[in-house]
Each structure stands twice: as structure tokens, then as C-alpha cells.
Symmetry: C2
Subunit: 140 residues, 2 copies
């Protein structure tokens, strides 16, 4: 049976996840890619090297993150957070976010680990999604 | 190391999957939901009861399906098929698609199983995504 999650339940799904699917709009076409992320203070944080995903979000900053917990076809939850893409630009904040990402994802590449030491390095884009809507559904 | 998949490799990822993330555009906002699907003759087939997902795709039929195979942070493939949402309306085709979905996903609900017997029943929307672009990336 399908049930709508409360905002709080949906946010718990987002908070509990590590991999989500980032949805963006690329010149009026949907674009979806998996990302690693973490949450802090009600926002979603992630990072990326330059590329299509970043180009798309800079052009159309309305984005979403879909996260699910799938046990089987009859027992699952899915949550969708929608909000605004913002780049984290101060060296201090970049260092903080990358340190936390590194602690959650110890397998970040050497390049990314180096950036934690030198967060002013421009190669890695650190960004957040400021959530303004969150919904979810479950079946169980 | 990231590598771009060929169209053939990306299509193999789509073909091998059972759960994908459907990306749509809802009034200029991205919208992503997990779906069960199968492929046939180069198209993606799925079904749904009426609801937001169907409303969104009817309004904006450009959609995508993202499918990944994630072993760990360093060994994964992700593919993205983009195309056009089309409803399958003939009773014969609906029955064929629902029968195949039922064989791949034996846990379809009783309602859906009944529709296989009576594919003219309007409650269940059967749809396909006619793919016109497919891309993918891997790390290994």
C-alpha cells in the first residue's frame, strides 16, 4: 500500500542516504546523475569536478535529489528534495564541507583529498542544494 | 578513472537493469522517481497507476531514465537514456507489455495482474520511452 511520507519522514530518508540521484534541467530536457552527498543544517552538500553536471546546474539552478531505500518491490521509501543549487566559494567553508565528505566517503580520490588541504584550489566545485520542498512516498 | 561509455555499452546498462530513476520536468522543475521497467526493441516500457508522474509526463513528454550499476565508489557504471514518453493504448499491446512486466516482476500487485487478463482496463497506464539519445560513464 502506498502512503505519503510526512516532510519529517522524507527528510529522514534524505539524511540517511549517501547516494542520491541528482535531477537537473538541461535546455528543457531532464538530466539525472548519481551523486554522493551529505546533509548539514537542512541543506544537501556535494562536490564535483567541472563538467556537464556543473554546467547544467549553473545555467538552471533549480535541481532535485531523489533518494530511496529499497528492500524489495513491496517495501521501499523514496524521497525527493527540490531546491536551489548554490556554489560554496569561501575557502573556509569549502574545507569544512570537503573534510566532512572525506570522513563519510574515505575513498575520495587523491585529488579531492589534496583539496581538503588546500581548499582554495579551484579544480573541485563544492555545492549545496538549499531545499525548499521535500516529499516522499512509501510502500510497506 | 572516469571513462565515457559507448552508446552500445550504455544501452547494455539500461538493458541489464530493472529499477531506474525516471527524470521528468514538472513546470520547469526537475522531478525524479524510481520505476521498474524493461526494454524491448530499443524502447523502455513501464506502467503506472494515474498520479503525478503520469500527469507530468503527459504535460512534458521529454523524459529520461538513469540506470546505474554501483559496486563501490570506485567501480560503477551509470547510463542515461533520454527520449519521448508515449502511452501504449491498444489492448493487445497493453496486454503484451503487462505480461512481460509480470514475468520480470512477479510481485506486481493483484490489480496489475488482473489487468493482464483484461488489458482494456483503463486504471493502469502502460507507457514507453522512445529513446533518441543514450550516454554513459564508468569508473573502474
Amino acid at each position: 500500500m502506498h502512503r505519503t511520507l510526512t516532510v519529517g519522514q522524507a527528510f529522514e530518508v534524505i539524511k540517511a542516504g549517501k547516494i542520491g540521484r541528482l535531477g537537473c534541467i538541461d535546455r528543457n530536457e531532464p538530466y539525472v546523475v548519481p551523486i554522493n552527498y551529505l546533509t548539514d543544517n537542512g541543506a544537501i552538500y556535494s562536490h564535483s569536478l567541472p563538467g556537464k553536471k556543473i554546467d547544467v546546474m549553473r545555467t538552471h539552478p533549480r535541481v532535485c535529489l531523489q533518494v530511496d531505500q529499497i528492500d524489495d518491490d513491496f517495501h521501499w521509501r523514496s524521497a525527493l528534495a527540490t531546491g536551489k543549487f548554490e556554489e560554496v566559494k569561501s575557502a573556509k567553508d569549502r574545507r569544512l564541507v570537503l573534510s566532512r565528505l572525506l570522513s563519510v566517503f574515505p575513498s575520495l580520490t587523491p585529488v579531492e583529498s589534496m583539496i581538503v588541504q588546500d581548499a582554495a584550489a579551484p579544480e573541485c566545485i563544492v555545492f549545496r542544494i538549499v531545499i525548499d520542498q521535500i516529499t516522499g512516498v512509501e510502500e510497506n
